[in-house]
């Protein structure tokens, strides 16, 4: 390799930039490549976030996304992305990371304690279904994506991206009422699918 040639492609952040552009164009493989690169950053932020949340109980979820993106992509990247792309990618990333994580963990614990992959301990999130787990949610969300891409996107933005109804409406450029309505039905659908007999992993 010629040491005097700028190595734009080898630096990880250059990669991130390119991958991000590809993700926002809907390139799924780019998301896969992007995930490990932001994993550690997310991990570190998660720690900070947890500490702060425990102390102040006030942090907005979007603050974490903002922080993540500031850290990973830099201020200039925010200008480069429009707001919708920005949050959209954030939410997808979060979903990807959590699912990968759950999957890795599930694999390593296969045959072991199923609760390890379950999100049961945060039962409140999933309402009265402590056994529901993230992988199952991921699977039924894929079905919803087929059935109703708009609803699926709302779920991703709301749940994985942490956006409010208003923020989701703004990002998707649709009305609050639509978001509210579609969100409610989507939740009912997901819940219904998740509680269908034989649907657990």
């Amino acid at each position: 390799m010629d040491p005097l040639t700028p190595q734009i492609g080898t630096g990880s952040s250059a990669n991130i930039t390119q991958l991000l552009a590809r993700v926002s164009r809907g390139d799924k493989t780019a998301l896969e490549e992007l995930t490990p690169l932001v994993y550690d950053e997310l991990h570190r932020l998660a720690v900070t976030y947890l500490r702060r949340e425990r102390r102040e109980h006030t942090l907005q979820p979007t603050a974490l996304v903002n922080e993540l993106y500031l850290k990973i992509f830099g201020q200039e990247r925010i200008n480069w992305c429009n707001r919708a792309q920005f949050f959209g990618v954030a939410a997808q990333l979060m979903r990807r990371i959590l699912v990968d994580h759950a999957r890795a963990h599930f694999t390593s614990k296969r045959g072991g304690n199923r609760l390890c992959v379950s999100l049961g301990k945060i039962a409140a999130t999933f309402g009265a279904q402590p056994d529901t787990d993230l992988l199952a949610l991921h699977e039924v969300l894929k079905r919803l994506e087929n059935l109703d891409p708009t609803q699926a996107r709302i779920v991703v933005l709301r749940f994985f991206g942490g956006l409010t109804i208003e923020e989701t409406a703004e990002v998707m450029d649709i009305s609050h009422a639509t978001v509210e309505r579609e969100w409610r039905i989507a939740k009912a659908y997901l819940k219904r699918e998740l509680t269908r007999p034989g649907n657990s992993l």
């Binding site: 952040s13 490990p36 994993y39 991990h43 947890l50 830099g74 979903r95 309402g127």
Partner: protein, 978 residues
């Protein structure tokens, strides 16, 4: 079935239905779905799901993502190669760091996982590895040691490195700028590390506060040598626009280190040593002012400021000396050719400044003293009230000043002895007599470390200063190592085995090494030829290090018969073939098992002795080799004296000794023949052992750090919460009610009592500047704390109010009173008296009154919960390790309990029928319960620290507060310039 075809219809019906009341819905659905039962089923199922769906997915994934991710990337117990993950330590710029245990070497290490993003280029990884290992191989005490570079099965690169207890300089700076001296101290230590690296052509490239660890004792370690290789900016054409763009991409967003980068680093990849000089200059500036010199709101502006043709004026406050500003100015020259050209020159200027500052104040930098409080920088490290302190000037090893000698005016001299058993008893000892702090006799010395693994036992230096032989210990096994002091190369000369090395001596020509070690409690002397060959057994029954006669035809040692407690000073020809007994002691008096010292003129052997005449003391005696006549060297009483050694010119001895019970073992110089004692070390470390070569002293430095932890005894004790920590040796912890803890630890160089909430909040000192105050015990109503204090010159029991330290009252006046405890009915305070050879238990009313003896022959009393019994230790000298249970009223013996007598711990009650005590299990002290009726024992804790200093059960016996200690012992060499 829901399908694409019917989904829109389902949605519409659902939406309309959910707006209706439950009663209206059936009719509506009848109408809307008509005959399509499948459609109706789906809608109803959705409505049912919706009814209980209020919380479902309402909390965003981030809430638990954090928990999940944090918890499980690597979890406790997970094995990575030979390392077992214990807990996460933090998240550095380059990846996550975990505390782990090396299963093979049984030591704690830090595991740093390199972020994937930095490990994508194998060439970079390789460059990083080369450099990290090269820096680690320097074996410099200020450079964090790397044990291994590895890769996990899943392809994660990791670094296994020395675990450093401490905080990053970044953490420390988050509490504000540092005092000038402390900043200088840290900068000098970093410069010393860099100078060693630069000498091997290794440039750090990423010096910043995040990469500098500050230990509680003030010692600094530089981390992450070579890591910059993973992220270094590759060469780019010299156009400002492009250069700054690249830096922003790489450093500004990912590393956040732009602020410390040199102008040339922002311009090109080829940086040299001078770049580190710049970065250290920035760090020094930040330590002094609290912010970096080129700080701007965006990375690009920062880069512009760093690269600007004209340096911004360095805005220092007035308290920073002009010369220091000048030095920083030279480090921050934009043109590297105008900068300091070598780090050593930078370091030299800093040291000179430090010496100057020191001269101005004429006060000891390393000691805390009643008269020099202002000079002592005791800093709270945690704003949450954690009792951690940094002795800011404790710049040991690299450039340590053994100054501000306290001299004991009266000190005529003498001889004394300590035995292992006495080491930690509380016995009245020398009353401090600080004559002059402003002593002109300041000794300027330099301390360097010979070992840094923290596992050294004892050591000796050859008379030419070229070699240091030392014993090391790990996992209950000890081995002998020979280190070349010039190259720091070490080689194992005796393999590890289950023995204890007592002492090592070189012959003058350094052709032989003699060493004594305990093998199954029997002391054996061996000789090892340094030219090679197996060790030769010379003599058994040698229970101390030996001292050669000046002609090296004989040696002297102490023999200790463990059955008869009979001690003798023995002289033997060099081949061990015969022996002559020069002095003996018995009946509680003893000769030091840390060994005698034969005088350079051959006429005297000096040996410490322990005696009980007129109270306990250890003193130095000189024995005439020709006729065995004994002479006291001085009448100064010591609490313990460990090893002693003559100075070659016979102007005096260097001794490792403790002038009072609660002081660390320090080095002292005792002049000969006038026997004036002069204190050489004044920090909180123990210096155990002395070996002399010319002006150099080699000793074993022992640093204690402690954590006060609280754990739920009904749950897993593996994850206690640490509510306070510090350095030195703490003395006592107790509960005051169910959520307050009272404890004693070193603060301001004396032992002081503080109270703290069990969650670590609200720490309040209860004693300040009143000499030593320790062994707190509380009344069950939470009102009073009783404790031992020597504030009036005698060791007596005192009482005060827990809330505000008011209502202070002296309860005993007989001196030598220790280990107070309050009866459950809050009527009595029981304690022990240790002024005479026969220990005894006494009691006095809590409100004050007459001191009454309870029983003879016991110590460390503890009342049973029903107030009927007192559990006590037998006197250590009694030869039994049993615990006695006495009737509280009569003092008569009810029962003997056979439990090991470990450390100097009192037994505690866990219920009316259960006691708890400390026992070493698998090498670590832990708390064990003992059922009095059945004799059944049960291990209650699973700590893996070197020591449990003290512990206490909460009133409901559910919570355990514990002072846990971690010991680091290293060989240090003290070069005396004078």
């Amino acid at each position: 079935m829901i399908t694409h075809d019917n989904w829109q219809r389902i949605k519409e019906i659902f939406d309309s239905a959910q707006k209706l009341s439950a009663a209206e819905r059936p009719d509506f659905l009848d109408h809307a779905c008509g005959d399509d039962t499948s459609l109706r089923e789906e809608v109803e199922a959705l409505l049912t799901a919706d009814a209980s769906n209020e919380d479902f997915l309402n909390s965003p994934a981030y809430h638990f993502a954090a928990e999940i991710l944090v918890e499980t990337e690597f979890s406790a117990g997970q094995e990575i190669g030979r390392y077992t993950v214990l807990c996460p330590l933090g998240f550095g710029g380059m990846g996550q760091i975990y505390l782990a245990e090396d299963a093979k070497l049984k030591r704690k290490i830090a595991l740093k996982f390199i972020s994937q993003q930095f490990a994508t280029d194998p060439q970079r990884v390789q460059r990083f590895e080369q450099e990290a290992l090269a820096a680690s191989a320097l074996n410099h005490p200020n450079i964090c040691v790397i044990h291994e570079l590895g890769i996990t099965e899943t392809g994660r690169h990791f670094i296994a490195m020395e675990y450093i207890q401490g905080i990053t300089l970044r953490d420390q700076l988050s509490r504000g700028p540092l005092p000038t001296r402390q900043a200088l101290n840290i900068a000098i230590q970093v410069a010393t590390a860099l100078s060693s690296a630069h000498a091997s052509r290794i440039v750090h490239r990423d010096i910043k506060p995040e990469n500098l660890m500050v230990r509680p004792d003030g010692y600094v370690k530089v981390l992450d040598f070579g890591l910059a290789k993973l992220t270094e900016i590759l060469p780019v054409p010299e156009t400002p626009l492009q250069a700054s763009k690249n830096v922003t991409t790489e450093a500004g967003t990912l590393m956040g280190t732009v602020k410390y980068m040199s102008p040339e680093q922002l311009r090109e990849a080829k940086v040299d040593e001078r770049s580190d000089i710049w970065s250290l200059g920035v760090v020094l500036y930040e330590m002094l002012t609290g912010s970096t010199p080129f700080e701007a709101s965006t990375p690009n502006e920062t880069i512009a400021a760093i690269r600007a043709a004209q340096p911004p004026s360095l805005e220092f406050s007035d308290h920073i000396p002009g010369e220091l500003r000048h030095v920083i100015g030279r480090a921050l020259e934009k043109d590297r050719d105008r900068r300091y050209q070598t780090i050593s020159k930078f370091a030299a200027d800093l040291k000179e400044l430090q010496a100057k500052l020191q001269g101005q104040s004429t006060v000891d930098l390393t000691t805390v003293d009643p008269l020099s409080d202002d000079d002592q920088q005791t800093r709270r490290i945690e704003s949450s009230g954690i009792f951690t302190r940094i002795k800011s000037q404790a710049l040991y090893r690299t450039e340590f000043l053994l100054s501000g000698i306290r001299s004991h005016k009266k000190a005529a001299l003498f001889t004394g002895v300590s035995s292992v058993l006495v080491v930690l008893l509380f016995v009245p000892a020398a009353v401090r007599n600080f004559s002059s702090l402003f002593n002109s006799n300041t000794v300027q010395s330099k301390m360097t470390s010979v070992t840094n693994a923290g596992t050294s036992v004892c050591s000796a230096i050859s008379s030419d200063g070229k070699w240091v032989a030392h014993a090391e210990e790990r996992g209950g096994k000890q081995w002998l190592v020979l280190t070349d002091t010039a190259t720091a190369k070490s080689s194992e000369i005796i393999a590890a085995s289950e023995v204890q090395y007592l002492g090592i001596s070189f012959t003058r020509e350094s052709n032989y090494l003699y060493f004594t070690r305990l093998e199954n409690s029997r002391g054996m002397l061996y000789r090892l030829a340094l030219s090679g060959g197996p060790p030769v057994k010379i003599k058994d029954g040698v229970d101390s290090p030996i001292s050669f006669s000046p002609q090296q035809d004989q040696f002297a040692f102490v023999r200790h018969d463990k059955n008869t407690l009979f001690y003798s000073l023995v002289v033997s020809p060099i081949d061990g073939s015969s022996e002559q007994i020069l002095a003996t002691r018995q009946n509680g008096d003893a000769l030091s098992i840390y060994g005698p010292a034969w005088s350079p003129d051959g006429n005297l052997i000096v040996c410490p002795i322990r005696s009980w005449t007129n109270g306990f003391k250890v003193s130095l005696i000189a024995i005439d080799v020709n006729n065995g006549r004994e002479k006291l060297l001085s009448d100064q009483p010591w609490f313990t004296i460990l090893q002693i050694a003559w100075l070659d010119d016979m102007s005096g001895l260097i001794i490792s000794a403790r002038d009072q019970a609660t002081a660390p073992d320090r080095l002292w110089r005792i002049s000969y023949p006038d026997a004036v004692s002069q204190q050489l070390t004044s920090d909180l470390a123990d210096y155990r052992g002395v070996s002399i070569a010319g002006r150099d002293i080699v000793t074993v430095r022992n640093d204690w750090t402690w954590d006060l932890i609280v754990t739920d005894s009904t749950k897993d004790s593996a994850h206690p919460s640490t509510i306070a920590s510090g350095v030195g040796v703490p003395y006592g912890v107790t509960w005051a009610g169910s959520n307050r803890i009272v404890f004693s630890a070193m603060a301001q160089d004396t032992l002081n009592i503080a109270r703290i909430n069990s969650d670590g909040s609200d720490q309040v000192p209860l004693t300040v500047k009143s000499k030593d105050n320790y062994s707190p015990a509380t009344s069950s109503d939470g009102r009073f704390v009783v404790f031992t204090s020597n504030r009036t010159g005698t060791f007596d029991i005192w009482r005060m109010n827990i809330e505000d330290a008011s209502d202070l009252k002296q309860l005993t006046f007989s001196n030598g009173n220790f280990y107070p405890t309050i009866s459950p009915d809050n009527e009595w305070v029981a304690y022990d008296n240790q002024t005479s050879k026969q220990k005894s238990i006494w009691k006095v009313p809590l409100r004050g009154g007459k001191e009454t003896k309870v029983a003879d022959g016991y110590r460390m009393p503890a009342f049973s919960p029903d107030n009927q019994f007192i559990a006590a230790r037998y006197d250590l000298e009694s030869g039994t390790t049993d615990v006695a249970i006495l009737y509280a009223g009569s003092g008569e013996l009810w029962k003997k309990i056979p439990v090991p007598n470990f450390d100097w711990q009192r037994v505690q009650w866990l219920s009316q029928n259960t006691l708890s005590y400390i026992e070493k299990i698998n090498g670590f002290p832990n708390i064990v319960s003992y059922d009095i009726a059945s004799g059944e024992k049960k291990q209650l804790t699973y700590f893996n620290r070197n020591r449990i200093f003290s512990y206490a059960w909460s009133p409901d016996y559910k919570l355990l507060a514990c002072q846990l200690g971690t010991k680091t012992t290293n060989i240090v060499r003290i070069k005396n310039d004078k």
